[in-house]
Symmetry: C3
Subunit: 267 residues, 3 copies
């Protein structure tokens, strides 16, 4: 009876089914043929470090001991560092130090970090995912020590993405739309604590607004608690306050996109 | 020499490369690290139970012994049951009992079923894929007995999706467009038997219509049997009557979408 | 200690997350349960043999010993042959002989080839990916000899895709846009040799044009070498001359699509 092979996960803004995702898998399979490979997400909006950071921080804890390779890297080839970060649970984050890894490192607990040695000189400098990060992830998946991959740095120096703080007071909540899923549910950068501070409770009739236009909604536990096509405000499966609609697309209805500021209020 | 690891397949409307697909894989990998994981399809139109049911029924028989996890679940959190269904060939279907599993269960032969015990109380109720179905699939993939997962029910009580019956008579066929593939081929809810009943034979010049507008087509075996850009009616690789066009998009040409009623007739 | 399982890679124009991709995986998993399976790319534009051939030729060398299954097959069911091609590095290409495999075979070195025996008579003739190519790839992944799969042919008879030659002279380069990635970078069918022949050097201010409209750009090593939103011409990570823009979409800016002829020139 042998231990299960170690696992590499992939999170990028390369697009589902794209050749760049394929290249990462091929490089890892070539260098670490026994490793399992798992696609975490590849539909991060292009260059959206904040979305990538939020995604990584909520998905990586589902498989804490894995090597998590994340690439959303608008500054590739520039000054930003490439890093690997050892986590308390035994896992490692690998990717650019541009804020993408900061939230997950904070959530999961960083115990050590290195700046990755650059790929061989003379190699093209535009595809660090394939030439720098995937080889590092593969080496870690075959048991290489973090310190063999580069120069040690203080994990406290890792960049954190800029997150707007939610504003919550009695009868009122303002927060950023952090993400919108395939069904049009709008995830806000606010949690149950902020919702509690507004005093809004299950069953309350409230409004949701992106602009001046107020859309009626109900504070509820889940979709089936409201009428067909009605909007609801709920705590989603990641512990975020979210705006949805039963059987329709809430984001399209109010015109929201990731990064928008959404306001909830009592009538 | 050991048996190959057991396999979990995934069919959802979450969208290719989405974080929700990633979450299912991560949960299964965490609980059943030896299991193989295969993406069956993730581009089912959102909330389209009928399309999902048709897909599951034609793909699952390609790997009959696997655990097939399927989630198209507009009523998540409501009254519909979460179930696992043991199949004659040794495989299992796991997902919501809203019609999604009914066709595959019928095609492959259901021998037992259980209503899945709910996820731990206090957990958010909006992501049953991750919190209810994936853990159940993982436990089955590690050899857990179906009866350990929930309360036994009669497989005959599983819901079946509503399928419109095709109408076939001499020189005439009416059937629903069940699906449209990436190349614009329109798959009809009708088989070779219905086509035979129309008396149409290979080489016959017929018409295809969505509205009053009749488009010329030829009954053929395959694309290369008709002229470049010409339309054809053929029996597709899943045994469905289908409408295609040689080197162009038939669905776009006649304006068809899944769920539309298509008519074929002899001039 | 056992050898890692052999690997099957998949490159198609089926679309990411589509049921057709799922079907290939299921067939290979059923026939070769020990094989690893890797998605190379599934977003090849529909029926675009040239794009598929370029992709295959740059990705397959990343994992030279694998069985590479490629399907971009507008002529399915017609006269084109289905083939398997043994490569110098121990790998095999499997797919239609319509030009798709020709570049990779040339780049990696073909040592033998067979025309695949057709699928069982009476099977529908429209899904060779599932019924012909995937079973052949699976058999190869379990160690079957190439010669057991079909009739030997001379690898020199394999079709090559039609590639337009770049035109390079002093201060001037004309080449086809071979591909455009998710970030809008335009990859040209020209390499560092052609760029050298133009005499253009790093730091030179040049123009890029699709029509009469000339867009200013700089010859550079990587994105961060030019100002925010500025365009650059560089040698990309696959060794192609490419047109990009720092933090914006170059293809959208100049209106380029794959297959367009792009001109670069000195002011």
């Amino acid at each position: 009876m042998s231990a299960p092979p170690s696992t590499v996960t992939f999170l990028t803004d390369y697009g589902p089914g794209s050749e760049h995702v394929g290249a990462l898998h091929l490089v890892v399979a070539a260098l670490a043929p026994q490793a399992q490979r798992i696609d975490m997400a590849h539909d991060v909006p292009a260059h959206d470090i904040l979305q990538g950071a939020l995604l990584l921080a909520r998905l990586a804890p589902l498989l804490p001991g894995a090597v998590h390779l994340a690439v959303v890297d608008p500054g590739v080839g520039g000054e930003r560092r490439g890093v690997a970060v050892a986590l308390e649970g035994g896992g490692v984050l690998v990717g650019p130090d541009n804020g993408l890894l900061g939230l997950a490192a904070e959530t999961m607990g960083a115990v050590a970090a290195v700046v990755l040695d650059p790929p061989l000189p003379g190699r093209p400098a535009t595809f660090h995912g394939r030439d720098l990060f995937a080889p590092a992830a593969a080496r870690l998946a075959t048991g290489a020590d973090l310190r063999a991959l580069g120069w040690p740095i203080d994990p406290a120096t890792l960049r954190r993405p800029d997150l707007p703080e939610p504003e919550a007071e009695n009868g009122h909540l303002r927060a950023m739309a952090a993400g919108i899923d395939a069904f049009g549910n709008i995830q806000l950068l606010a949690g149950p604590g902020e919702l509690a501070r507004t005093g809004m409770e299950r069953g309350d009739r409230i409004w949701v607004a992106l602009t001046d236009r107020r859309h009626p909604a109900t504070v509820a536990r889940t979709f089936s608690d409201v009428a067909e096509r009605a909007m609801l405000v709920f705590v989603d499966s990641h512990g975020h306050v979210a705006v949805g609609a039963n059987g329709r697309n809430a984001a399209r209805r109010i015109g929201a996109e990731p990064g928008d500021i959404i306001t909830l209020g009592r009538w």
